[in-house]
């Protein structure tokens, strides 16, 4: 078995004059969950469709479970499941019928697992899908996918229509999938979900990869946010190495600090007798936004 369930290098996809993917790199390690982040239109769905062999790449290389997704699409599909972000169903069939059709095509569905998932996600399988809301349509695809024992799960914003209770159930299921040594590519805009599930994270923008790595390594590249209350001496912190964006509002002081400088800065801070102290590592959201701010700034700089 290859070390990586998904391996993508320099993927390019053009739609006429529009370049959707422009040298995208991505890897999903076997048995791990990889979060796939990027703003709308960054190319997440296009990437997943190429990984499914639904679209043909114009350049670059992609390998999924050791197979070529375009030429070996069918063999590959025996070993993976997919949940699209926008689930379209046949309006005159029931949810249960569609789950069975999908399961059967995927090589059989275990009745007990289907039942378990239906209960978990509280989906009524006897209703025609035209009566389903967006969330319920999504549950149909989720139940079909999570009831299977596929090696790889490709999930494209799978929870965008789910309520917080169902979101919790979804996270439980994915943790179970991971415990069973299966691999997941999870595209999502819900940072909390990615933060709690993903081993590694890939952030893309305008069709190319900005950063891929573990959350810890990304935190390492980013600054910790510190909030404290000081009676005096806040200004002495300003000139320390690694301290940025210091703001003083009465006794309330906030600043950000590079991770490498954190011990020495805290050492200095403790001598100023802080009345309160909170130091938070950057959240995924802050990391995500900081990558975009930097890129936006770079773009604006280069345009001048």
């Amino acid at each position: 078995m290859p070390d990586n369930a998904i391996e993508v290098v320099g993927l390019v996809k053009r739609y006429g004059s529009v370049t959707a993917l422009d040298g995208l790199d991505l890897s999903v390690a076997t048995g791990q969950v990889t979060g796939f982040l990027g703003p709308n239109g960054a190319g997440k769905t296009t990437t997943i469709r190429i990984l499914l062999g639904l679209l043909k790449a114009d350049a670059g290389r992609a390998q999924v479970l050791g197979l070529n997704p375009w030429t070996d699409a069918v063999a590959l599909h025996r070993r993976l499941v997919y949940v699209p972000g926008d689930v379209a169903l046949w309006p005159n069939l029931t949810g249960g019928q569609i789950i069975d059709v999908l399961g059967r095509l995927s090589g059989g569905i275990e009745k007990s697992r289907k039942q378990e998932m239906l209960e978990r996600f509280q989906l009524d399988p006897t209703k025609k899908t035209r009566t389903y809301s967006k969330g319920n349509r999504q549950k149909v695809a989720l139940v079909a996918a999570l009831a299977s024992r596929a090696e790889l799960l490709l999930l494209d914003e799978p929870t965008s229509g789910l309520d917080p209770l169902m979101e919790g159930q979804f996270q439980e299921c994915i943790k179970q999938v991971k415990a069973e040594g299966r691999s997941v590519l999870l595209s999502s805009h819900i940072f909390a979900e990615v933060e709690s599930l993903a081993d590694t994270i890939c952030i893309i923008r305008e069709g190319h990869t900005i950063e891929q790595g573990t959350l810890a390594s990304m935190r390492h590249l980013n600054r910790t946010q510190v909030r404290t209350d000081l009676d005096s001496g806040a200004d002495t912190l300003r000139n320390l190495d690694g301290v940025h964006d210091l703001a003083v509002d009465g006794s309330h002081v906030t600043f950000s600090v590079e991770l490498s400088a954190l011990p020495s800065v805290l050492d200095r801070l403790s001598r100023l007798n802080p009345r309160s102290l909170a130091a938070n590592p950057p959240s995924l959201e802050e990391i995500f936004l900081s990558y975009y701010h930097t890129d936006v700034a770079k773009d604006q700089g280069s345009q001048k």
């Binding site: 739609y15 006429g16 004059s17 529009v18 370049t19 959707a20 703003p39 709308n40 239109g41 190319g43 769905t45 296009t46 469709r49 190429i50 499914l52 062999g53 639904l54 679209l55 043909k56 790449a57 114009d58 350049a59 670059g60 290389r61 992609a62 390998q63 050791g66 197979l67 070529n68 375009w70 030429t71 699409a73 069918v74 599909h77 025996r78 993976l80 499941v81 997919y82 699209p84 926008d86 689930v87 379209a88 169903l89 046949w90 005159n92 069939l93 059709v101 999908l102 095509l105 995927s106 090589g107 695809a141 923008r205 305008e206 936004l289 975009y292 701010h293 936006v296 773009d299 604006q300």
Partner: protein, 579 residues
């Protein structure tokens, strides 16, 4: 496995052939469509049985049959249904009355079914979920081809059995089919049935091809109908000139199987070969294209990755992406109106219908000359014995009915908006329901008038230049405009349904339009009372210039259209949206 073969590279072009899970998907296709399949079988075979049985009782009197035979030799029927080698029997009369109509209905019906299951599923995004399973690349196409081919053959076999069931007694087959033995009569029945099957298979082949070529189900159906219209037109010209041109059209092949006459079997083989070639071409295209993409008409791409307006910090990424695409970033002032939106949404339909309604009148205009020449040669026929007769009773109503279909289709876009969930957001703005509906229907009305004018100008100019008689142009133009109220009635039937039974409105509208066609062509055979036929919009409209102009029917039809529209709008104001 070596790493090089496993990697996607730009050079690797075709996907591996695969029909994995073909059987499962074939069963799924049957399950999804079973009701439609059964209805098509009942309609096509049922009408055949009905007409044959009716003629058997009607033409007991040889004089009645002789009158029918005279009609068959008239140019207008020659144009509509083609040459009949053997009309002096019940079987021949049935072939004459029903074959062209029934077989066209069958092939276009199968084309629509193919589209519903192929491009339709891609349009709606349902194919994507299916294709993420181990379903073979070609299994969707394969399943549709299998199910629809089986439907064609089944209809053919049932038609043959139904006809054979009439030929049990050697003493009657002479009158029934102009043959001397039961075996010969049955042979004709099987040739008849298989000519139906051939037309169905033609629908399968054309359907497979257009579904792979076209970017949407609408364009696939449109171009598919266009192809059959061309087949029909070539056949018509060939039959009118008794030339070999009829052999150019695949529809001509099926027609020239000629049951109870030449009893040719080889044209069936030719149609089967053509259908297989078309399916193979579709197959090859499918293994080379992206799901949801089109080969000839780029532009439809699943959820195009064009920049969306994104809030906050992402906003700075939008302009760059927008600059790299040619798609309009903002709406023109016209597009921001409801009627402007209506025009924009129907742009493709206007274009397609417009092209068709230019080409057909142009061709028909040249055919009038042939008919006129025919008329001077042979003074037979009870129908349409003058140029005015051919125009008023055949060509103008035929084209006007096509415009009526356009009007109905254009009106149904109101429901399309609702079904696609875009009506809510429009009504959530300042526009009122009735105002929205009226503006969209105004587009339909203006479009209908433009289409009728197009027909009139093209038919008049074409005839005029062929016959050196431009004086007919204003008459022809006026004769087309007489059909405005009838077209409006078709559209208003939809509006009535849209107001009160929105989920069934589109289906009911097409059933009504289909029924109008059926009644127009074989109404008498179906024992529909004459008064019912007379009050149908297109029969009620005076067939000028064949008959003098009368205003009363037009006023009545206009009132009917108005009442239906108002009643529909009242329902639309009172009901839930969306429904």
């Amino acid at each position: 496995m070596s790493a090089t073969t496993a990697w996607t590279t730009p050079g690797a072009s075709a996907q591996r052939l695969s029909l994995a899970h073909l059987a499962t998907f074939t069963r799924f296709t049957v399950r999804r469509n079973w009701l439609r399949l059964v209805v098509w079988i009942l309609i096509i075979v049922g009408m055949l049985a009905f007409i044959f049985d009716y003629y058997k009782t009607l033409f007991v009197d040889p004089k009645a049959l002789q009158g029918f035979i005279d009609t068959v030799h008239s140019p207008s029927l020659l144009a509509m249904v083609g040459i009949i080698s053997n009309p002096e029997s019940i079987a021949g009369a049935t072939w004459c009355k029903y074959w062209m109509f029934g077989s066209l209905m069958l092939s276009i019906g199968i084309l629509f079914l193919m589209t519903r299951n192929l491009r339709g599923d891609e349009d709606q995004g349902r194919a994507e979920l299916m294709r993420s399973t181990p379903l073979g690349i070609h299994s969707r196409l394969g399943a549709s081809v299998i199910v629809m081919s089986a439907l064609s053959v089944l209809i053919g076999v049932l038609s043959a059995l139904v006809l054979s069931s009439f030929f049990t007694d050697a003493s009657t087959v002479g009158a029934l089919a102009s043959v001397s033995t039961v075996a010969q009569a049955s042979q004709g029945a099987w040739v008849f049935g298989m000519s139906f099957a051939a037309m169905g298979l033609l629908g399968v082949g054309v359907g497979a091809l257009v579904n792979e070529l076209c970017p949407s189900s609408g364009s696939a159906n449109g171009i598919g109908i266009g192809i059959f219209a061309v087949f029909y037109l070539i056949r018509m010209i060939g039959d009118l000139n008794s030339s070999a041109l009829g052999w150019v059209s695949p529809m001509g092949w099926a027609q020239k199987m000629d049951p109870w006459g030449a009893n040719r079997w080889w044209p069936l083989l030719a149609v089967v070969v053509l259908a297989v070639v078309l399916v193979v071409v579709a197959w090859v295209i499918q293994s080379r294209r992206d799901l949801g993409d089109s080969v000839v008409m780029r532009g439809h791409v699943p959820t195009p990755p064009a920049a969306e307006p994104t809030p906050g910090t992402y906003a700075a990424t939008a302009p760059k992406a927008a600059a790299s695409t040619s798609r309009a970033a903002s709406a023109s002032p016209i597009l921001t109106t409801v009627w402007g939106m209506g025009i924009r949404l129907q742009r493709g339909a206007f274009l397609g219908w417009g092209i068709g309604l230019i080409i057909f009148p142009l061709v028909l205009g040249t055919v009038i000359k042939s008919i006129r020449d025919l008329l001077t040669d042979t003074q037979i026929g009870t129908l349409a014995t003058t140029v005015d007769g051919v125009l008023g009773e055949l060509f103008i109503p035929l084209l006007a009915l096509a415009v009526g279909v356009f009007a109905a289709q254009s009106a149904t876009t109101l429901r399309t908006d609702e079904a696609h969930g875009v009506l809510e957001s429009q009504l959530a703005t300042g526009v009122g329901r009735v105002s929205w509906a009226l503006q969209r229907l105004a587009v339909t009305l203006v479009g209908t008038i433009v289409m009728l004018l197009l027909c009139g100008v093209c038919l008049g100019a074409s005839y005029g230049s062929y016959a050196n008689d431009m004086s007919k142009l204003p008459v022809i133009l006026g004769s087309f405009l007489v059909y405005i109220p009838a077209c409006c009635v078709l559209a208003s039937i939809f509006v009535l349904g849209f107001g009160w039974w929105p989920r069934f409105a589109v289906t009911v509208t097409w059933i009504v339009v289909g029924a109008l066609w059926v009644f127009l062509i074989i109404g008498i055979a179906l024992k529909i009372p004459q008064w019912v036929l007379d009050i149908m919009p297109f029969n009620a409209t005076p067939a000028v210039p064949a008959v003098p102009m009368t205003w009363t029917p037009l006023i009545v039809l206009t009132l009917v259209a108005a009442v239906f529209t108002v009643a529909g709008l009242i329902g639309f104001r009172r009901r839930n949206v969306p429904m």
